[in-house]
Symmetry: C2
Subunit: 332 residues, 2 copies
């Protein structure tokens, strides 16, 4: 492997100058910079990131911690983040929390061991506050939260406009003439889900409808839970469900089908996240889209911006968008 000393020798200068030239320092004559760059290219030099990291105390790596990598939402966020990081010479170290605080802590420790420059994280559903995140992140590392965030933690936060998204989705169901609309609400330990529930409630009351705690279903984020909630919702006379996830919405559709109900005529459903399958199933599932790729880009950009001392990025809210499909389109 070629080192900066090899380049220095070959040019009859010292490693310091080569280092400066290569890292874009001002204090290098233009001609020597060019010479260094050419020689580096010619000799096939590649910076030893380990040495650089050791010396600088941090690496050209950003950790990304997500509950599960194989969720469409998260894999798209990662894709977006990676595209921006890549432009700036950073790599992404990916860790999964499996929705589990202990694994989340382990992931953060791994990242700290690797002296990552930043951590982009969407917390596990079982994490009820961000204490463990602060405790296991190096003070120099830049923390960026996305989607599932703790507002108590410092640093940039990229979130969907959960309140207005749920508001829109619920209003859409009301406008379609549904009279008793339940919600599959998720876990209130997550601010994202809490905001969605609030949006739902606000839409109901703005439209003069009653809020009924008996048709608010907590604690489900997978298909099976949505199915169970759907059955109870039907028992309790619901003719529609707003769901804070597409998998749970899928479960609700399944419950309706089992009861022999027609969708959307007898029962309406709107989900959240616009998973790939939502457009493909029959009936197709209306959903509040979240733009994960864009969120990933924003998260990475927030990291890059925060690298400059003094620069502050606050909360970035990405709008959600109602994708109307068959499952809620009773009126043409």
């Amino acid at each position: 492997m070629v080192t900066i000393s090899d380049i220095a020798k070959s040019l009859g200068i010292t490693p310091s100058t080569v280092s400066r030239a290569l890292s874009g320092s001002e204090r290098v004559k233009e001609s020597t910079r060019k010479a260094v760059e050419e020689t580096a290219e010619k000799m096939g030099y590649e910076r030893n990131e380990a040495a650089s990291s050791l010396r600088k105390g941090r690496s050209k790596v950003v950790g990304i911690v997500v509950p599960r990598i194989n969720r469409e939402f998260f894999s798209n966020v990662i894709g977006g983040a990676e595209s921006v990081l890549d432009e700036h010479g950073y790599s992404a170290l990916i860790c999964q929390s499996h929705e589990n605080t202990l694994d989340e802590i382990k992931a953060l420790k791994t990242l700290r061991s690797n002296r990552v420059s930043g951590v982009l994280i969407s917390h596990a559903i079982s994490s009820t506050n961000g204490e463990h995140i602060l405790e296991n992140i190096a003070p120099e590392a830049i923390l960026v939260q996305f989607d599932r965030v703790f507002s108590s933690l410092p640093g940039p936060k990229i979130i969907s406009d959960n309140f207005h998204g749920a508001y829109e989705g619920t209003r859409h169901l009301i406008e379609q003439g549904y009279k008793k609309i339940g919600i599959i609400a998720g876990f209130m330990t997550s601010e994202a889900y809490a905001a969605r529930l609030n949006g739902y409630k606000q839409a109901l009351s703005d439209m003069g409808m009653e809020i009924d705690e008996d048709i608010i279903f907590y604690g489900s984020i997978v298909q099976k839970g949505g199915y169970e909630a759907g059955k109870i919702a039907l028992d309790r006379g619901c003719d529609a469900i707003f769901s804070t996830g597409d998998y749970t919405a899928l479960g609700a559709l399944q419950a309706a089908r089992e009861r022999g109900l027609r969708v959307p005529e007898d029962f309406g459903v709107v989900g959240t996240a616009d998973e790939r399958f939502s457009a493909l199933i029959t009936p197709s599932l209306s959903s509040m889209a979240q733009h994960p790729y864009e969120m990933g880009r924003r998260a990475a950009q927030a990291f890059i911006t925060s690298l400059k001392p003094g620069a502050k990025v606050g909360e970035i809210v990405v709008p959600m968008e109602l994708i109307k499909r068959e499952s809620s389109s009773r009126i043409q």
Copy 2:
């Protein structure tokens, strides 16, 4: 940050001994090992991976290069690989090639700069041979290929049993009574796709059916291409399609629907990869499942095994499995 010297001082021994104790060397008294471990725990020590990497010449990181991270197949492979790597103290550095050889090379350079111990790769569709992979990987790094592999390259390869998978899928269609079965074959620069085409041909000839080049459609791996191929297949009198991907199969279904054909009565389809949506669409799509999570685990295990000098892992073939669904079930 706590270093091994801090631990050494606190115990009145030298850093060398602490290092040995912590890295599981034999030449350490049991009692001192215990003392070191306890003190390390107590002081909150975490190894500086950068320093370790610099000294050892390689890091506790494995690079994973995939065409796109947001394909269900690849994100599940990554998930499987990560679970095994994690057990062994390795992290995963993820790079995307975007199906593009230039990006693939860039990814490999990044990984080499990071002195990764291994590279797990499924090559971009535009890479027609593995020269650039060999050229851009450090000689010490362990190369493991999965799914899309070049058999000309050395090292472990984890592949689906593409030949028999396609054979099974095609035979299934024949058994269901379809008479003229086309294939959406993909790119022949990829050995995986070539093997599938061979399996298809073998099934046809074993069952006494003619192979017709006019209904072999090359070059499509996305939905739109499958749609175009499907239309031509119908023009040419096909009553079934075996597709080497589920997205292309989806396109073929779309073409059949446009022509007003009933599936599976008038037209049968079997896809490949068993994407999540395949079970959820109507009609549900029969598909050759590939077990990506398992393939990821195997790939990572192959890496771990190859770490031991002398250990050799060859080609591991993971069976494919026919998932019969509505799109091909003409006979009950």
